[in-house]
C-alpha cells in the first residue's frame, strides 16, 4: 500500500493541480478584505477532486491493471484510495483553516467560530458524499461508464435542484408541517444539524467502501 500512496501523491504533485489551488488560496488571502471562511468550505472538495483525478488517471492506459501486477492487492487498492481521501481531507482542512485564521489575525478581525464550524461542517458533508460516490463509481464501473454515470448523477442533481427551486422556494408548493418543523429546528441548532448530516455522510462513505471492496474482487482489467 505504501507504493500506491507514493504513486498517488507523486501524481498529485506532477499534475500541478495542488499548486494551482494553493496559489488561488493565497491570492484570495492577499486581496481579501475580511476573513475568507469559504476557504474552509472548499478544503474537503479540493482534496476529493485530487483523489478523483488519481482514480481517473488509473483508468487511462490500463494503469490500474499494471498496478495490480505489482506487490499490491485489489483490497490494498481500495483501502489506499479511501485512506488517501481521508488524510487529504484532514490535511487540506488544516491548511485552509490556518490560512483563514492567519488572515483574520492579519486583518485584526474577531474569529467567528460558529462561521468556521458551519463552513467546515458543510465542506466535510459535501466532501464525504462526493468521495463516497466518486470512489465507488470509479471502482465499480470502467472509465467510460464511470464518466457516463457521473454525468447522469450530475444531471439528476441539477434537475432536482431546479425542481426544488420551482416547487419549494416559489409559493406554489406548501410544505408539510413536519418538514417545516424540521427546518425550524435545523435553523435553531445548526451545529447539531451539521453533525447529524456528517454522521450520515460518513455512513455513506462506509457503505461505499464496503461496496468497492466487494466489487473490485469481481472485476477484470
Amino acid at each position: 500500500m505504501k507504493g500506491l500512496l507514493v504513486k498517488d501523491l507523486r501524481l498529485m504533485f506532477t499534475t500541478k493541480l495542488v499548486f494551482v489551488v494553493i496559489i488561488m488560496a493565497l491570492l484570495m488571502s492577499i486581496f481579501a478584505t475580511d476573513a475568507p471562511y469559504i476557504l474552509v468550505l472548499v478544503g474537503s472538495l479540493f482534496s476529493v477532486s485530487l483523489v478523483a483525478m488519481t482514480c481517473g488517471n488509473d483508468e487511462m492506459n490500463n494503469v490500474k491493471a499494471y498496478l495490480l501486477t505489482l506487490p499490491t492487492s485489489r483490497r490494498d487498492y481500495v483501502i489506499e484510495k479511501y485512506l488517501l481521501t481521508i488524510v487529504m481531507m484532514i490535511l487540506s482542512n488544516v491548511v485552509m483553516l490556518t490560512i483563514c485564521l492567519a488572515l483574520a489575525f492579519k486583518l485584526g478581525e474577531p474569529i467567528d467560530r460558529l462561521e468556521i464550524a458551519i463552513n467546515l461542517g458543510i465542506g466535510t458533508i459535501i466532501g464525504n458524499v462526493m468521495a463516497a460516490a466518486v470512489l465507488m463509481l470509479s471502482i465499480v464501473f470502467n472509465s467510460r461508464i464511470y464518466r457516463l454515470v457521473v454525468a447522469i448523477i450530475g444531471g439528476a442533481v441539477f434537475l432536482v435542484a431546479i425542481g426544488i427551486k420551482k416547487f419549494v422556494i416559489t409559493e406554489t408548493f406548501t410544505m408539510p408541517q413536519p418538514i417545516l418543523n424540521a427546518i425550524e429546528w435545523m435553523e435553531q441548532n445548526p451545529i447539531e444539524t451539521i453533525g447529524i448530516f456528517n454522521i450520515a455522510a460518513i455512513l455513506l462513505m462506509v457503505v461505499s467502501f464496503v461496496i468497492s471492496l466487494i466489487t473490485i474482487n469481481r472485476k477484470e482489467f
Binding site: K2, G3, L5, V6, K7, R10, L11, T14, T15, N57, D58, M60, N61, N62, V63, A65, Y66, L68, T69, L70, P71, T72, S73, D76, R218, E220, F221
Partner: protein, 282 residues
C-alpha cells in the same frame, strides 16, 4: 517452475484452454496472431482476469493464493499498461522503491543512463522505443524469479531490440532459478532468445517444441499434385493448397529427406509455421 494446468477462460467467441510448463533457467516464447490469447494468458497468471478453471503453480505454490509479499517474485512488462503518462523516471523509481524490498536503485539509474532515458522527462514525452525500454527496466529492477514480458519489443528498431534481448539474457544468467515467458510478434526475436516456443491460436496450443527442434526438425515440403498424392501424410501437421502445388508443414524433416529425396524441402520460419497452422488444413 511455472506450471499451468488446463487453464480455461472464456469470452464471447473465444476460449483460452492451455497447459504449459516453464522450467527454471529457461526462456519460453509465446507466439500467436492478434487475439490468440497471449495477453489473456498473462492476465490469468497475474490474476488480473479470473480463470474459470485450472491451476497455476509458481514453484509448487498455487498462484491464486499468492500473498502481496510473494508477488515480489514476479516481474511484469505489459503490452498495454504502465505508470501514468505524467510520470517521469524519478516518479517511477520512487514508486517501485516503495513497492519492492529488493528494488535495485543504482541499477535503475545506471540502465536509464545507458539507454539514454532522461530521468526528468515525462513518459508522455518519451518515444515508443524509450517507453518500451523503461517498461523493461522497471520490470528488471528488482530480484524476481519469474519475468513476464508481453510484446516487449513492439515498435522498436533492431538495435534496441538487441539491447532488450541482452537484458533478458542477462536476467536469466544471473540466477539459475529464474524463468522468463515472453510474447512477441517479431518471431526472429523469439527464435533468438527462447529455449522453447508455444504457438497458440484461438486460445489453444498448436505447436509446442524446443526452439532447436523447431529449427532443425520442422520444414516446409513443396509438392506437386502427383507428389502430394504419393506423400506419407503421417508426419504432416498442416497442408496448404496453392494453385498448382501443395505446401506441407512437417515436424519430421529428416524422414522426408530420406524417403523422398526428390521433394523440395525448405527450412521454415516461425511466421510461416504459424500461417500454415492457422490457415492450412490439418
Amino acid at each position: 517452475m511455472l506450471k499451468i494446468e488446463n487453464i480455461k477462460k472464456s469470452y464471447k467467441g473465444f476460449q483460452l484452454d492451455l497447459s504449459m510448463e516453464i522450467e527454471n533457467g529457461s526462456i519460453v516464447g509465446l507466439v500467436g496472431a492478434n487475439g490468440a490469447g497471449k495477453s489473456t494468458l498473462f492476465k490469468a497468471i497475474l490474476g488480473i482476469v479470473h480463470k474459470e478453471s485450472g491451476k497455476i503453480y509458481l514453484n509448487d505454490k498455487d498462484i491464486t493464493n499468492l500473498r502481496t509479499k510473494d508477488k515480489e517474485l514476479i516481474s511484469v512488462s505489459m503490452a498495454e499498461g504502465f505508470f501514468p503518462e505524467a510520470f517521469n523516471a524519478k516518479d517511477i523509481k520512487a514508486t517501485l522503491k516503495a513497492m519492492y524490498k529488493s528494488f535495485k536503485s543504482d541499477w535503475f539509474d545506471e540502465k536509464c543512463r545507458d539507454f539514454g532515458l532522461d530521468m526528468s522527462k515525462r513518459m508522455s514525452d518519451y518515444s515508443t522505443g524509450m517507453k518500451a525500454k523503461m517498461k523493461v527496466i522497471a520490470a528488471l529492477s528488482h530480484n524476481s524469479k519469474l519475468l513476464i514480458l508481453d510484446e516487449p519489443t513492439q515498435g522498436l528498431d533492431v538495435v534496441t531490440r538487441e539491447e532488450i534481448s541482452e537484458m533478458i539474457r542477462g536476467y536469466i544468467d544471473e540466477d539459475e532459478e529464474r524463468m522468463v515467458i515472453i510474447s512477441s510478434h517479431i518471431s526472429s526475436d523469439i527464435e533468438k532468445i527462447c529455449d522453447r516456443i508455444y504457438m497458440i491460436d484461438k486460445g489453444k496450443e498448436i505447436i509446442n517444441a524446443d526452439t532447436d527442434v523447431l529449427i532443425s526438425e520442422y520444414a516446409i515440403i513443396r509438392a506437386s499434385e502427383e507428389e502430394y498424392k504419393e506423400l506419407d501424410k503421417n508426419y504432416i501437421l498442416a497442408t496448404k493448397k496453392d494453385k498448382y502445388s501443395y505446401s506441407c508443414l512437417t515436424d519430421k524433416k529428416n524422414f522426408y529427406l530420406e524417403n523422398y529425396p526428390k521433394l523440395i524441402i525448405e527450412k521454415t520460419t516461425l511466421d510461416e509455421m504459424l500461417i500454415m497452422m492457422i490457415k492450412g488444413d490439418k
